[in-house]
């Protein structure tokens, strides 16, 4: 995966002497002091991150954290004070106004806003055409394209309605279609679903994910809602006070919060929804192979102090689970034999979960599998680790 957008040391000062404020910041002055003494507002300070191609990258933070400012720096609706913004390797902070316009037309699907920002005097169709109209696409072609996008977002039949005849959710679909209609690959969404009521909101999130599957645009999504961030974002950058505090996947942020601020943030989240089996698993201490023979297997268990062991084949494919006490009984019964063959009756069905199974599902399996650890496998069913029963509960209760 290649980096689509690379942002390096980006800062934005609102005020008449940005250089002075930057210098003060470097010398350790706080934002409040700068606001009080210089009357300048620090919007974003020294932010670096990169967004991969076709990724949904979420900027998450409370109001005033600088997330919307940061988003508007990326298409230069706000003029950066310092730093670089590379899009497909081109530093857009160096573009002249004419080149910038051209660049926006080519690379940006406009923006989708919290309050929709669709034109009240235009029909749905005319609204969706806006971006293409600005690009100078000829009327016939842009109408066809707009109609197609209206169908994609599920608004067919409303082409000639006016915005005030539509519900909030439908209006935001217009906003979405307007962005998608443009043949560009970066979409900026600013609190796009925050004005919608919860049910519609969830539905729109699902639809966005679906659309993203199909169209593979690179999306930068701004939100103040952690649930939304975790639902949509492949990766999330948590912002506070104009800076990015932590960037990572939902899981990384939840299991390893960078500081107390992030920790406080994620505390409210329902951990079991986001934590996966992979995040609490432990390395496998020992495995047994069928060919090992019962005595060898028992020795392995004794050595590591295990009460049971997972049996795999040579490809680390999980075959089952053997309990130490049962194995010991079996050996006692056949104690007179020189070499005891492994008996498949010893094998119990092992509890196997995939790496990305949410923990709350793992808990649900507890009743079905009374014994032994859970074997955690990757997508190819190969053993990656184990979850000891207690670990799940511990992980879930840790943050309460």
């Amino acid at each position: 995966m290649s980096d689509k957008i690379v942002v390096r040391n980006l800062s934005k000062i609102f005020g008449n002497n940005p250089g002075k404020a930057l210098k003060a910041l470097r010398e350790g002055m706080s934002k409040e002091e700068i606001l009080r003494e210089q009357g300048q507002m620090v919007g974003v300070y020294d932010v670096s991150f990169s967004v991969r191609k076709s990724e949904i990258f979420v900027l998450m933070g409370l109001s005033g954290s600088g997330k919307s400012t940061l988003q508007r720096l990326i298409n230069r609706l706000h003029e950066p004070t310092s730093g670089e913004i590379l899009i497909d390797g081109i530093d857009i902070t160096r573009l002249g106004s004419k080149e910038l316009r051209k660049f926006r037309r080519k690379h940006f699907c406009g923006m989708v806003f919290q309050n929709f920002a669709i034109l009240p005097h235009r029909t749905v169709l005319e609204n969706v055409e806006l971006g293409l109209e600005i690009q100078g696409v000829d009327p016939k072609k842009r109408q066809d394209r707009a109609k197609e996008m209206i169908r994609v977002v599920g608004l067919e039949g409303n082409e000639n309605s006016y915005p005030d005849e539509l519900s909030g959710g439908m209006q935001q679909r217009v906003g979405l279609a307007r962005g998608l209609a443009v043949d560009a690959d970066i979409m900026l969404m600013d609190e796009a679903f925050s004005a919608l009521d919860p049910l519609i909101r969830r539905q729109m999130q699902d639809e966005l994910l679906e659309l993203h599957q199909k169209m593979q645009k690179t999306i930068i999504f701004v939100t103040h809602d952690l649930d939304e961030a975790f639902r949509l974002g492949h990766r999330i950058a948590i912002m506070n006070d104009g800076m990015i505090i932590q960037t990572g996947t939902a899981e990384e942020i939840i299991s390893r919060p960078a500081n107390d601020y992030v920790k406080a943030f994620v505390e409210d989240m329902n951990r079991s929804n986001v934590l996966t089996a992979g995040s609490v698993m432990q390395p496998v201490l020992e495995t047994a192979f069928k060919g090992d023979g019962p005595r060898t297997i028992l020795r392995k268990m004794r050595k590591k102090g295990l009460s049971g062991i997972i049996v795999t084949d040579t490809g680390r494919f999980v075959k089952g689970y053997v309990r130490a006490d049962e194995l010991a009984d079996y050996i006692k019964k056949h104690g007179d034999m020189e070499s005891i063959p492994f008996n498949d009756a010893l094998l119990q069905e092992a509890a196997v979960v995939m790496e990305d199974t949410p923990l709350n599902e793992v808990i649900n399996m507890y009743t079905d599998h009374q014994y032994g650890p859970f074997a955690v496998t990757d997508r190819h069913n190969r053993l990656k680790g184990v979850i000891v029963r207690g670990a799940v509960i511990a992980a879930l209760s840790e943050c309460r």
Binding site: L77, R104, R105, F108, G110, A117, I118, L130, E165, V182
Partner: protein, 283 residues
């Protein structure tokens, strides 16, 4: 208080005289253009039989402002015809329309400029304040000096008086367009002109039209005053009523001014509301 008095009046007089001698040709050409326009409008409106024109105005009122207003317009205009003020009515209408066309021609672009440039806005604001608070009669004097007596100075004085509200409201309307709408166009890579034509002007249209309505109303009030410098029309009849203390005659003419005001107001404000209602545009 001081023995020396600043000769402000002399300065202004010499400035006006200077402009008159220096730009006399320009004023003359301008004057010809204006009187040509007023005459065309007036003659055009006097061409059909009054009843035909009354029906046309009533129909327009109906279309723009509904049947109730249309009936008021129809009855008011019949009365005007009946009391023999039809020609004066048409003259006044032509004068107001000419001034308003000029107001729109200058006011909207200046308003847009003021909305886009804070510096220009800072410059033009005191000028507009001056134009609006200066007693209307004062405009008449330089107008007469530049354009002589008659129609043209009347149009010019009306223009100066009616211009500020349109500039102000155009400025306001465009500044009030939600920032996100402009950002949306910007994010697509719109040029300044595209933003203006596709977003700012259409969204500000109701406010701009309210400005047009306001300037027409102000213009109408000036038209009566302009009769003092021979602009003719209904103002002349009002003036004559005052000079000869003929209460009835004065009121008759005044009433017709009211009729004209009501019709113009209903048509133009209907225009604004019609278009902004439901966010719909006929065009």
């Amino acid at each position: 208080m001081f023995s020396y008095r600043i000769p402000l009046d002399e300065w202004i007089t010499s400035l006006v005289t200077f402009m008159e001698t220096r730009f006399g040709g320009f004023f003359e050409g301008f004057s010809t253009g204006i009187s040509f326009m007023v005459t065309i409008l007036k003659d055009g409106m006097l061409l059909p039989h009054p009843l035909v024109f009354i029906l046309v105005i009533s129909a327009v009122t109906w279309y723009m402002a509904g049947w109730k207003n249309s009936i008021i317009a129809f009855l008011g205009l019949l009365l005007t015809e009946n009391i023999g003020l039809w020609i004066a009515f048409v003259e006044t209408l032509a004068l107001v329309l000419t001034a308003e066309i000029l107001v729109i021609l200058f006011g909207i672009p200046l308003g847009i400029w003021a909305a886009r440039s804070n510096r220009f806005n800072a410059v033009i604001r005191p000028v507009l304040d001056f134009m609006q608070t200066m007693p209307a009669f004062v405009y008449l004097i330089p107008a007469v000096m530049f354009f002589g007596l008659g129609l043209v100075p009347g149009v010019v004085a009306t223009f100066v008086f009616a211009l500020p509200p349109l500039i102000r409201l155009t400025n306001l309307g465009i500044r009030q367009v939600p920032a996100e709408l402009v950002e949306a166009a910007d994010a697509f890579g719109a040029t300044g002109l595209q933003k203006l034509m596709k977003v700012q002007i259409p969204v500000a249209k109701p406010t701009i039209l309210a400005g047009v309505n306001q300037s027409i109303m102000l213009g109408l009030s000036m038209v009566v005053i302009a009769a003092m410098i021979g602009a003719g029309g209904l103002g002349e009849d009002v003036l004559r009523g005052i000079q000869r203390l003929r209460v009835g005659q004065g009121f008759e003419a005044g009433l017709v001014v009211v009729v004209l005001a009501v019709i113009l107001d209903r048509i133009t404000s209907g225009f604004g509301q019609r278009r902004s209602y439901n966010g719909r545009m006929a065009s």
